[in-house]
């Protein structure tokens, strides 16, 4: 294969960020091209169809399915209120009358003379899509949503849980190897997004939730703590819709791993700014990684910015090792031998030689490194 390399996570001090803000169903776009928006502004809205309720009417009334329509007091398409009569029997003796009440406020969707079922639908549920980032509307997608652009610091995490949230960024540790403990989290951090160093444990996450912190960015944490946070053991990495009261993004991986120096320095340099984060992760073909977007308030859009890496590996490129035995270490490519070599497992694979900052070197399979933007 010609270009076998791992592109790595994007870390960019200043770049154009384009965000598609799309409705799940077609609806109305409430802004126009060129509008300058704040993250909390509504850009589009629509109504989701209401939940459907089924009632086995014939069983409840004691009649035949083919006769059901004769007993209905409402027909398909009619609006009904909760506890309103929708069907009733008409016996000679009124005391024996059976009535069927609507379990919801909504409309009659279908009446089936085969199954004797009546389906009712709740009223449509309004939903709104927010801008999520401060930026400028550059395109209107009719009835679907908008495209917003901004100039921002942009970082990808490796894994996250929890959805979109916005808050002021606060770096609460001094070094990328520091642990973000419960003691680091103060009442003043309510509604903030906190960035830490190498590791966080569940007691600190609990403290953050108690205080009202909106999001946390940290190097690593343990799978056991993820299970505690979610309430279940995560099987497949498709996240973002969890209702856990906080968004958590890890930048390096599971375990105690210092945050990459560049990531830490960037976050520190942007501390105090309004930040939009989303923990949504999808590790499948068409991978989605969690994102951290810190717009520049004075430059909403239109400025030339960093370009992502779009080439193969070269000697001298900085890389991060992403698997043991050198997991988490950052170094520079020293050699890129062409022929596959035998590694400890006895597998013959393409490798590279990496030189770490202390001058030591190691042979690593090419599949086990990711490129870092210079």
């Amino acid at each position: 294969m010609t270009h076998a390399y791992t592109p790595g996570l994007r870390i960019s001090e200043k770049t154009q960020v384009v965000s598609h803000r799309i409705l799940p169903l077609s609806g109305d776009v409430t802004v126009k091209k060129g509008d300058v928006l704040k993250a909390g502004d509504i850009v589009a809205m629509t109504h989701l169809p209401g939940k459907v309720h089924a009632i086995n009417a014939v069983n409840r009334l004691g009649v035949q399915p083919k006769d059901i329509r004769e007993y209905m007091t409402k027909k398909e398409g009619d609006s009904v209120l909760k506890d309103e009569i929708i069907a009733e029997t008409r016996p000679w003796i009124k005391m024996l009358k059976t009535v069927l009440l609507s379990p919801i406020t909504g409309t009659i969707e279908t009446i089936s003379n085969v199954t004797g079922q009546v389906l009712l639908r709740e009223p449509p549920k309004p939903i709104q899509v927010f801008a999520y980032i401060d930026g400028t509307v550059i395109e209107i997608l009719e009835k679907e949503g908008v495209v917003i652009e901004t100039t921002a610091t942009f970082l990808q995490g490796i894994f996250g849980v929890g959805g979109e949230t916005v808050g002021e960024l606060v770096v609460v540790v001094n070094n990328p190897g520091d642990i973000l403990t419960a003691e680091c989290i103060q009442p003043a951090h309510k509604d903030k997004i906190l960035a830490g160093g190498a590791y966080i444990q569940s007691d600190a996450i609990d403290q953050a939730k108690k205080v009202g912190v909106r999001g946390i960015i940290v190097g690593g944490f343990d799978d056991e703590d993820l299970t505690k946070l979610l309430g279940y053991n995560l099987g497949v990495a498709i996240t973002g819709s969890e209702d856990i009261g906080i968004t958590l993004i890890i930048t390096e991986g599971f375990g105690r791993i210092p945050m990459a120096q560049r990531t830490f320095d960037l976050l520190k340099s942007r501390s105090g700014n309004k930040t939009s984060i989303n923990g949504a992760t999808q590790i499948r073909a068409g991978v989605v990684r969690p994102e951290i977007i810190i717009p520049y308030s004075d430059k909403i859009s239109g400025e030339a910015a960093d370009k992502p890496i779009n080439r193969g590996m070269e000697i001298g490129d900085p890389v991060r090792v992403i698997r043991v035995p050198h997991f988490g270490k950052i170094g520079k490519i020293k050699a890129l031998p062409f022929s596959p070599q035998r590694i400890e497992t006895e597998a013959k694979v393409r490798i590279l030689e990496v030189e770490f900052p202390d001058g030591s070197t190691a042979i690593v399979p090419r599949a086990n490194v990711e490129m870092i933007e210079k």
Partner: protein, 607 residues
Amino acid sequence: MSAGFYEKGDNDLDVIIATDCGSTTTKAILIEKKDGVYRQTYRGGAPTTVEAPFEDVTRGVLNAFAEVEELSGRKILDGERIITPARGNVGVDMYVSTSSAGGGLQMMVAGAVKTMTAQSAQRAALGAGAIVMDVIASNDKRLPHEKIDLIRQLRPDIILLSGGTDGGTVSHVVELAEFIAAANPKPRLGMTFELPVVYAGNKDVQEKIKEILGKKTSLHITENIRPTLERENLIPARQEIQKLFLEHVMAQAPGYKKLMSWTGAPIMPTPAAEGLIMQAIARKQQINVIGIDIGGATTNIFSVYGAVFNRTVSANLGMSYSISNVLVEAGLENILRWVPFDIDESDLRNRIKNKMIRPTTIPQTLEELKIEQAISREALRVSFEQHKSLAVGLKGVQRERDISEAFKQDGEGETLINMLTLDLLVGSGGVLSNAPRRSQAMLMMTDALQPEGFTRIAVDSIFMMPHLGVLATVNEQASTEVFEKDCLIHLGTCVSLAKGSMGKPEENCLSYKITMPDGRKTEESLPYGHLRVVPLASDQEAEIEVVPAKKFDVGAGKGKPVLKKISGGIVGVVIDTRGRPVTLAKDKASRVAQLQRWTKAIDAYPE
């Protein structure tokens, strides 16, 4: 680009190129007829280009072709046109392809009774190569609104609706159709077209189904998959699903219309093609076959017993994207039991999650390799359990039981999978095909599936079963020749105890006499709880006589000897006296010692 490539007759194909467009990689193989025999000669690969920025599957296909051109010296492309027919070292006679890109074919099935028509519908969809996202049945204990929400949220590519035997239940089937109509589901790909629904249920309800679903979905009516309780009729529904896969699902995927115009046979879902090659080989050699394909996201299991073919896919059991789900479904304890050294539980959990979030990494240390191979055993075991529970005789059929059956209520009498009558076990997928030592693949498959009696074990050398499956639809000779000569790497034959044969460690278990092709004889005995390897080359056959001790069974009954011809392989003949099921010691130190003894016996890892 011209369609068809039928300038030569189907049986005069000399040069064939085939691709499998997977989620991440497009793999091409070149097959050439040399001295009257078809052989796989060269291969190439390139990243699949279904997604942005390319959004055209044919880019990846052309890149894979270019690599084959480079390696083989054969000119296949003239710009972006496939040269056809083949003349000398230029051109090919036919191009065929399979596809699982974009997540493959994702379906939802519905039937009246969970263990009857709904299960038949599930088998029909799986056999057509689909991933079954969920099964809805009238008696699945979900409330109506839950069913409707589920149908709406899942957004399948196709829904298969069945229910009722002909002349049987009407109301349950109509109810399911009403739920589908109320959900008004949208397809996964292409917002503008209507969701295809295949109706294959009670024929008396067809008109009513048209009334309910005709206007809201793209409805296709086919023969009932369960016309009577005693008969399952899956082929018409499977064919309809595969036709819709091409017409609706594939046609919406980027670049597929062009790709379809290039191929000389319809593009097939990858697992459907794998199923075809398994069936072709079972038919040709008159044997029972089980195939396992363990990928990064999913594990497919195929079985062919006599004329009955079954396929299951465990959609979230795999070695990279789904590795964490193996931990969830199998449990940490079960994974740990196969790790031949002491490891901290928290460390193991973090390592599994790190593989999940960086799925393309590979083990660099021996310790990491052993962990992945331990996990693979559990992924295979759980997938195989799921296969056994679906590969069953028809439920709902009344049959007479004799008195012995009436007493044998072991709850699994209905599965069609009988490990004692299995002839060939074929493994595929990175963790098996690319294991640094072939003995590791042999041990992983033996531990996970626990074959009984005499079972030949092989691996797919470079993952070409899908290519050969689709090729079988146009030229079965080419397909089976390449399968036997180039696709399979025979590891050897496993000689094991039958189910229920349990003993105490080191107890006298069996003796065996092997007569080699050159007449040499090996005569030994092996106590209970051991593995031993007797070298026998891939192209050799030997005669073995196994005499079990009186409480042990190797297939003919307790204490009864068996005389058999067995085939060799890269590993050889593996005599396995570990009992069925394989029992591991409870305490950690003894278990680790046990595992180390077995891996040493089969020479699985370097010292």
